[in-house]
Symmetry: C2
Subunit: 346 residues, 2 copies
């Protein structure tokens, strides 16, 4: 195994966690950090990350200065949830002839909402002999890749339900705002309409991944964002929810094949669900032969897992054939704990 | 997608189930059946399988008569649990230039116990431009592939425990005998010594798959087979267990890295565990960051799931690069429910 040389693009909470993980992994080397924050640019990358190691590079806001395909095997980019906001940077990476992992939720399966961008990325990657993949805990693992894995031993699948119940308490003001936490029911519904309450980004992408991987034939999806109105007082470090106020957003996707619902994804995100007796967890039910009913309690941890899977998939995207991939196009990714994890018999 | 043409080798309980599944799948065609049972040879394959379709072929005991690489994409073989018993037939398939799926438990990772055979199969497959894979529900899915999938979002993995609790009640005399059901404790221990009580076949293979995929560095394994002595009367269609008699076999594997146990696999197989308050299920715990605790209740159904996964993996082995593969070398397999499931962006 030769060492994989990685550049981290975006040094926010997620990106800096990923960069620290790359720096800590046997078999990987963190060779660059790109960010536009004035307080980071020009400072030693190790210092910005708060790690002891002298990495020998400074944070730069000029991607061209570090994107040398002779010196970099992969860029991991953590800058936004949306493909249309990231496409310029993705073009820069692929045109430089470097493989790419993105944690933009929509990149888990850009075909879902931006088929023309997916086609462009696939062509651009192939033209430059590299590959690009989108991943994260959700979309990317808990409500799509794991769902497909659980069908591997099914003679038949008639329909699928996946539910992810999590607790937003650890998150700060941005997440509270985009999930509508602390709003009145009316403000919440207005927020959904005007786009200020986003809810979860990634359901169309998970549905597309599952449908493509199984041949489920989903031809139409419906999404709903509903307020979770609290019946009790919920108090966190960042916010206090009085009874009658919104504690979070319950997002639902229905995937239809013709008139039949073959996929149901449910993701209630709220602060302190256990105060109303709801435990956190990932729940997947495969209806078919055999029936399969899985749960993970508590839920597969959000932020850390996204950082981890983005780094764990780096060897897969480096060794993949050129083009746009998703998590179900490459061999299953596990945690990278030693040399043999970096090589596959592909 | 072009139709995948499959020959089923071995038409016992598992093999005939797999053949029926192939015959039922859109995108697959069952083009041959190989078996040595005199009561099957020469009879129409559809009739032997008890399906209405006229498949246009008779069961044959002469593999050479059907193994034409111009007419067959993949052979699925279900004849034995042991690599050394199957190696002659595997050579025949690979030398004919045809891809192969085997449900022999030891074929899930033949490197584990027969490294020289693994090397031979890899070379033979490459020489003939085809690939070969071993699979099944266990080994192949519930105690290895799913374990690795659950680590995908881990920053770090320190150790892993996987337990599979199942009920042997549906099985007949052969399984009862090889699991030691109905013996006295002394007879059981003697049976383990003289090899008549096999227990579960596949733990060294699962351990090897996990260790290789994660780079866990397991350098030594220990296996134990212990009697499950019943404290209550357990009665099935096939057998009656009095209190004090053996109701099944509890098999344990410890995987060491140096002096440290990094993997524990536990598989108590018995009749009617619920009579002593034990529910059936698959339980996986990943110790690390984050901790992940998963359960599937009841356990992922044994026989049907092995039939299903062997057929579901056919497109993966057909499209794989030449050589010996395991379930973690190819993109994750899901149930094949429609055309898009047969093609990947590999």
């Amino acid at each position: 195994m030769s060492t994989l040389r990685v550049v981290q693009w975006g040094l926010g909470a997620m990106g800096s966690g990923m960069a620290r993980l790359v720096a800590s992994k046997e078999g990987m080397q963190l060779v660059g950090g790109i960010d536009t924050r004035p307080e980071y640019v020009g400072r030693p990358l190790g210092e910005v990350l708060g790690i002891d190691a002298d990495l020998g590079v400074d944070v730069t806001d000029d991607p061209a200065s570090v994107l040398d395909p002779e010196k970099v095997d992969c860029v991991v980019i953590a800058t936004t949830s949306w493909v249309k906001e990231q496409i310029g940077d993705l073009r820069t990476i692929l045109e430089a002839g470097i493989n790419c992992v993105s944690i933009a939720e929509e990149m888990a399966s850009p075909e879902a909402q931006s088929p023309e961008i997916a086609e462009e990325l696939d062509e651009l990657a192939k033209k430059n002999g590299v590959s690009i993949i989108g991943t994260g805990v959700n979309p990317g693992l808990s409500m799509d890749t794991l769902v497909v894995a659980l069908t591997a031993g099914c003679l038949e699948v008639t329909s699928i339900e996946a539910t992810r119940v999590n607790d937003l308490s650890p998150y700060g003001p941005t997440v509270m705002r985009t999930q509508g936490v602390g709003l009145s029911e009316e403000e919440f519904r207005k927020g959904v309409e005007d786009g200020t309450v986003d809810g979860h980004i990634g359901f169309p992408e998970s549905a597309r991944m599952i449908s493509d991987a199984l041949g489920l034939g989903i031809d139409r999806i419906e999404q709903k964002r509903e307020p979770i109105v609290s019946t009790v007082k919920r108090e966190t470090e960042h916010i206090t929810i009085e009874p009658g106020m919104v504690a979070g957003c319950k997002q639902t996707l229905l995937g239809y094949r013709g008139d039949e619902v073959v996929l149901t994804l449910v993701h209630p995100q709220q602060v302190l669900p256990e105060l109303e007796g709801q435990g956190t967890g990932d729940y997947i039910t495969i209806h078919g032969t055999p029936e399969v009913s899985m749960q993970i309690n508590p839920e597969y941890a959000g932020g850390k897992a996204t950082q981890a899977i983005a780094v764990n998939v780096v060897p897969r995207v480096v060794e993949a054939s050129p083009g746009l991939k998703n998590m179900l196009d490459v061999p299953m990714t596990g945690a990278l704990m030693g040399p043999s994890a970096y090589t596959r018999r592909v």
